[in-house]
């Protein structure tokens, strides 16, 4: 079983689904049994989701496509 230190070192990768299946299982196992790490994990995930939500907010200008493809026609 992973220690809290070892789990924390993998938490960001776990949130990004960047761990191998076996590492993922080990982190899950630790989080299931450690309330403090589970709380930290939920908090970090919530922060990242909020930031990610804001970061993808940007209305694409309707003229973007015509502008790009016009430039390509004379490229």
């Amino acid at each position: 079983m992973l220690s809290c230190q070892e789990t924390y070192a993998l938490i960001q990768d776990y949130l990004d689904r960047a761990l191998s299946p076996s590492e993922t299982e080990l982190v899950k196992l630790h989080l299931d049994g450690c309330g403090i790490c589970a709380e930290e994990f939920v908090f970090e995930g919530a922060v990242l989701r909020r930031i990610g939500g804001f970061m993808t907010e940007a209305e694409v200008p309707p003229e973007l496509f015509s502008r790009v493809f016009s430039a390509l026609r004379i490229a």
């Binding site: 220690s3 450690c34 502008r67």
Partner: protein, 205 residues
């Protein structure tokens, strides 16, 4: 048209470009924080990519290839501009916002990030991202906006996967400190918490 680019090349290029333009714009916008500059960046990258299309390997990842060109173009535009990171990345502790929440006795159920990000808006996030040095901001922006894997980010930025991972993790730590600073500046949270005692001490099992 460049003499060695065929009508078929053009058609293939446009069919590959079209699905990634929205993402490219959002990425460019978050980097430049300016609508016109973002459109210029996407347009310039599109023209450069088109002229270089013969260098694109058909079996490879067009999105990563195109965003690499866009990123390089962005870096070139930034060469003359001096950027200073306000927070030293080495000083950004782990779990900063979590520890602030614990210290302030904030409830951590339901919506645990609400205590500092509940009043946040996109301008607050942009301001915090702007406090990152470019090499960290670009990785974090690409990952947040595109949801690309570490491997795709590495392809796009032409850096090792391990560098993507370490820059992204450090950028997130730094971002949490910057968000707190901005929340303090805006009066969303109390400025009285002593930040110096918040360097994480891990609990041990």
């Amino acid at each position: 048209m460049s003499s060695d680019i065929t009508v078929e090349d053009r058609s293939q290029f446009e069919s590959l470009l079209r699905p990634v333009l929205d993402l490219a714009y959002r990425y460019a916008y978050r980097l430049t924080l300016d609508r016109d500059a973002a459109m210029d960046l996407v347009q310039d990258a599109s023209v450069i990519a088109f002229r270089s299309f013969r260098q694109f390997e058909p079996e490879s990842n067009f999105k990563a290839w195109f965003l690499k060109i866009l990123t390089n173009r962005y870096y070139r535009s930034r060469q003359a501009a001096a950027r200073v990171a306000i927070v030293n990345l080495e000083d950004a502790p782990d779990l900063f916002l979590y520890r602030q929440a614990r210290k302030l006795g904030q409830p951590l159920r339901d919506d645990p990030a609400a205590f500092v990000l509940g009043q946040a808006d996109v301008a607050m996030i942009d301001a915090a991202m702007s406090r990152l040095a470019d090499e960290y901001r670009v990785v974090a922006t690409l990952h947040f906006v595109s949801q690309m894997s570490y491997e795709e980010c590495a392809q796009t930025l032409d850096i090792p996967v391990g560098t993507v991972r370490s820059r992204l993790h450090r950028a997130r730590r730094h971002l949490q400190v910057s968000l707190w600073q901005i929340a303090e500046e805006r009066g969303y949270v109390s400025p009285e918490v002593d930040r110096t005692c918040l360097v994480a001490k891990r609990h041990m099992l």
